[in-house]
Symmetry: C2
Subunit: 246 residues, 2 copies
């Protein structure tokens, strides 16, 4: 498929998007288009809001404090929402941004920080997480923008978990094996993936997870993976077996 719009700036906006509509950007995005990119009337961008697909839009007024755009036409239909829940023990700043971006690239539908015993970070900036989700969506042409759920302790997560949804988690105690068979058995069920912190789960947490009827421990091979590697690796095998890669 030719990617004729590949080089146009892509911006996530809040309002509904429809033919012939005009909209005015917020201050930060206006400054970006008007002052940084120095756009002129007639220049084009791609807009999306996570609901209405991707739209080609043309600059009407390039005022760097309030750029106004006119919607021209839809360039891509809205992609379906993702049902994949992804929970992760938050890492420190740069790696945290990274994990959230990767989860967005890999098609997570909901992203939720989960506080465990060995979690490095306890105070999370929800706005920053969302900003990272949006930036990843803009950069990787993702039209289904993941929700960011509020952080939750592992205990509360387990206590409130809908048992119909399988909770996959990478278990270092598993003998090294391929996770594909275990994942394939989950076809047709809603699925969640939980990735623990760098120090892993505590013995108590691990026992508690293994005791739940809805948990599905998987191995991610014979080597230790950093938490951010494990996240992408696990999401890849999930999407490839029972997710939206098919």
């Amino acid at each position: 498929m030719p990617r004729t719009h590949a080089s146009l700036p892509r911006l996530h906006v809040a309002p509904a998007l429809a033919q012939g509509q005009e909209l005015t950007l917020e201050r930060d995005q206006s400054n970006y288009l008007g002052a940084v990119l120095r756009m002129q009337p007639g220049d084009e961008v791609i807009l999306f809001n996570g609901r209405d697909g991707a739209w080609l839009a043309r600059v009407v007024n390039p005022n760097k404090k309030a750029v106004s755009l006119e919607l021209v036409e839809q360039t891509a239909p809205q992609t379906p929402p993702s049902d994949l829940w992804y929970g992760f023990a938050p890492l420190k700043s740069a790696r945290l941004d990274y994990v959230v971006q990767k989860a967005t690239e890999m098609g997570a539908g909901t992203i939720q920080p989960v506080i465990t015993r060995f979690t490095q970070v306890h105070r999370l900036n929800a706005d920053k997480l969302l900003a990272n989700v949006i930036e990843a969506a803009e950069q990787c042409e993702v039209l289904t923008v993941p929700d960011v759920a509020p952080d939750i302790t592992l205990d509360k997560l387990i206590a409130g978990w809908n048992p119909e949804r399988a909770l996959v988690f990478a278990d270092e105690g598993q003998a090294s094996s391929s996770p594909l068979e275990a994942l394939r058995r989950l076809a047709g069920r809603p699925v969640g993936l939980l990735v623990g912190p760098e120090g892993g789960f505590s013995d108590e947490e691990r026992e508690k997870l293994l005791a739940q009827p809805f948990t599905v421990p998987i191995s991610l091979g014979p080597r230790i993976l950093r938490a951010d590697t494990a996240a992408v690796a696990a999401l890849a095998v999930i999407q490839a077996t029972i997710g939206d890669w098919r």
Copy 2:
């Protein structure tokens, strides 16, 4: 398996490792143990060289310019060498380090920079690549240390490629599908994975790759993946289907 030695420093060294042997560390590692960690006689570390497994060693002389150690016992057998070739278009500095670390965590046997049309970087520091490989091996308890091959142009790579080895590459032109079936057909063959640069392959490069009898184009799903995400995702599905996760 209890990880009793999990918190000991792990160091990659060059010499052969055997019972009762004594060895003296190089300057940088001596400074690390002697001055940074302030180790004392009797303190323990784990040593490995990529050939002889993992060995528990005890500090004899903590002189920060030349720490000497005595080997106590082997704590883990040598893991088999990996036959998986991994080629990648080099990215700029931090992302480059990251890609090399992830390839090590994911069990690549040979890591080789491949210069393509849209490659961002043309001058590579081979010592730095190797340092990143070793650091990743130390941090992730990887005992099979990947070889770093010299950088090569895509044309030369294709011209010199042993056609018995399958060359898997992520092809954005493929319809979104799961790569598992295509990969499973490669069971028993030696395999390589080529990950292109952020801008992808040029049309000419792509046509040339597709024209080779040994290439195996795969899809990595419906979304665009950053090069470092694609690397981990592709390595995960390869290791899970036909690699050493089983």
